[in-house]
């Protein structure tokens, strides 16, 4: 019998920046070991939703439960054990410029050891572990000696993925994983993400406006529009959802219920 409690449960999540309401009562359940992809137009609050779950932004109202615990009520210190179970791939990789690739990959492991959440590794052990992780994302371990600035966009994404999975997180977040990549590299990154999530048995939330990516990564897909998740369904129904807003978005039609401000 499977556990009916969602790994991540969001209820009535609201966030506004001044007069601009970004999230207006988001409800979402993500079951353990599944991947949920949030799609939506630019500026609809997808990144804000992720940042609220990560604790980088404080929501105005609502609850975010991880394993049944509302993390919005926790102090930063109380959140630490939850953060140690989360991995995140940022849109542009967000690799640390001042560190080498291998130091970036094992940064989370070193930080967790400092906080007493994992074993302390020597530099040689860390470097070897980074090599293994780089191989997992299809890279030559020798890349570990390079600086992030020496890598292409696709390589930076892969290093970011290696860093995100280094601590074998229970939960993974992906912020626009294929943005800025060519279609082939996008498919490669999506494949790596799907592999990593499956092998680790992690629960994943990805945000994207790339429909092909949403279909490759997600077990379920939901659309964020006007601050709410207006539709949820299987990736196979994405282009035939029956919801006029979703259909306009997924087919990229100019005419429909979504009014785009083109600045005229």
């Amino acid at each position: 019998m499977t556990d009916p409690t969602p790994k991540i449960r969001i209820r009535g999540l609201k966030k506004a920046f001044g007069p601009k309401v970004v999230l207006d009562g988001v409800d979402l359940d993500v079951m353990g070991g599944t991947s949920f992809v949030v799609i939506g137009g630019s500026g609809t609050g997808k990144s804000v939703l992720l940042r609220c779950i990560l604790g980088l932004i404080t929501p105005d109202a609502g609850s975010i439960e991880i394993d049944g615990v509302d993390v919005t009520t926790l102090t930063p210190r109380q959140r630490e054990p939850y953060m140690a179970r989360i991995g995140m791939l940022f849109q542009n990789g967000a690799l640390f410029d001042s560190l080498s690739v291998w130091e970036n990959v094992t940064f989370g492991l070193t930080a967790a050891a400092r906080m007493g959440h994992g074993p302390r590794l020597t530099r040689a052990q860390s470097r070897a572990r980074a090599g293994e992780l780089l191989e997992q994302v299809g890279m030559d371990p020798a890349v570990g000696a390079l600086s992030p600035a020496e890598l292409s966009g696709g390589m930076q994404k892969r290093v970011g993925l290696a860093r995100a999975i280094a601590a074998r997180p229970e939960i993974l977040f992906f912020d626009e994983p294929t943005t800025g990549l060519d279609p082939i590299m996008g498919a490669v990154i999506d494949g790596l993400i799907a592999d990593c999530v499956r092998k680790l048995g992690s629960t994943a939330i990805a945000i994207t406006h790339d429909m092909a990516s949403a279909q490759r990564i997600g077990d379920r897909v939901g659309m964020l529009y006007e601050g709410r998740l207006i539709w949820q369904g299987l990736p196979s129904t994405l282009f035939d959802s029956g919801n006029p807003v979703v259909d306009q978005f997924t087919h990229g039609r100019r005419e429909g219920p979504i009014k785009v401000d083109v600045g005229k």
Binding site: L56, Q91, N92, A94, L95, F96, S98, M115
Partner: protein, 261 residues
């Protein structure tokens, strides 16, 4: 009448903004300092910042001090020679260098070099999500980025000022002996006679406070930068301007506290 009211309202808003800003900076500094005594400690970041501030700023601080000492000697000679008071030049040089020129010029040089670089580095980290990435990797950004830099600035600037003091005096000595035909032994004797431990100590205390203020401004403005490359540029400018103004303001206040009697 409306024009006057608008002016007063604008003035009030500016004052309130300034007070609000001062409160935010003070809180930012207090939070960063609270991490000094709470582990984990990032020794590598601290060492890197010490090398960046203390070692790589040496050439610019050394050259500035050397030439400033020379200029003081030259200008003093121009004035004092009229009254046959050239013997006082060694005392003037060491007083000016240890009390004021050493700490202030070293501080301004470091504000321009290190404060700007620090603000740009942290600002770039902010706008490229690297600071958020630190949080997701169980690392407190204040503890990792800000605290080591504040400690490094506070420790490194007194070292730089000590070097600046020595080179400033050397600059004055070189000009007086090589150009103005002073006796080297007489100049050294006059310098030693005028050297006061209190002057040097206060200069070093000033330097420590300036080092803290410069790094605080660099970190604060970088940490709160917004809006891509333009935001980082604005933060860098703000950091250097704020550090320079604060440095000169605190220089006056500290001089008043230590030397006003």
């Amino acid at each position: 009448m409306n024009g006057i009211l608008d002016f007063v309202a604008g003035l009030g808003r500016a004052v309130l903004d300034m007070v609000r800003m001062a409160g935010k900076v003070a809180l930012f500094g207090a939070v960063a300092l609270s991490h000094v005594v709470r582990p984990p400690f990032y020794w590598r970041t601290l060492w890197g910042s010490l090398v960046e501030i203390g070692y790589f700023s040496l050439p610019v601080v050394a050259l500035t001090a050397l030439f400033s000492g020379g200029v003081i000697a030259l200008q003093s000679y121009t004035g004092f020679a009229q009254y046959h008071a050239q013997n006082a030049i060694a005392g003037i040089v060491i007083l000016a260098v240890t009390r004021e020129l050493g700490p202030v010029l070293a501080g301004l040089m470091v504000a321009g070099r290190v404060g700007a670089a620090m603000s740009a580095e942290i600002g770039t980290m902010r706008v490229t999500d690297q600071i958020d990435a630190l949080t997701t990797l169980s690392t407190n950004p204040m503890k990792y980025l800000v605290t080591p830099r504040l400690v490094a600035g506070t420790l490194a600037l007194p070292f730089l000022v000590l070097i600046a003091d020595i080179l400033g005096v050397l600059g004055g000595f070189t000009v007086c002996v090589m150009k103005l035909d002073f006796s080297a032994s007489a100049y050294i004797a006059a310098t030693i006679a005028s050297l006061k431990v209190m002057d040097v100590t206060v200069g070093l205390v000033k330097a420590a406070i300036f080092g803290f203020l410069i790094t605080l401004m660099g970190c604060y403005h970088g940490y709160h930068s917004r809006g891509g490359a333009e935001g980082v540029g604005a933060a860098t400018t703000a950091a250097v301007v704020a550090a320079s103004i604060l440095l000169l303001t605190f220089d006056y206040l500290l001089t008043d506290v230590f030397f006003s009697q």
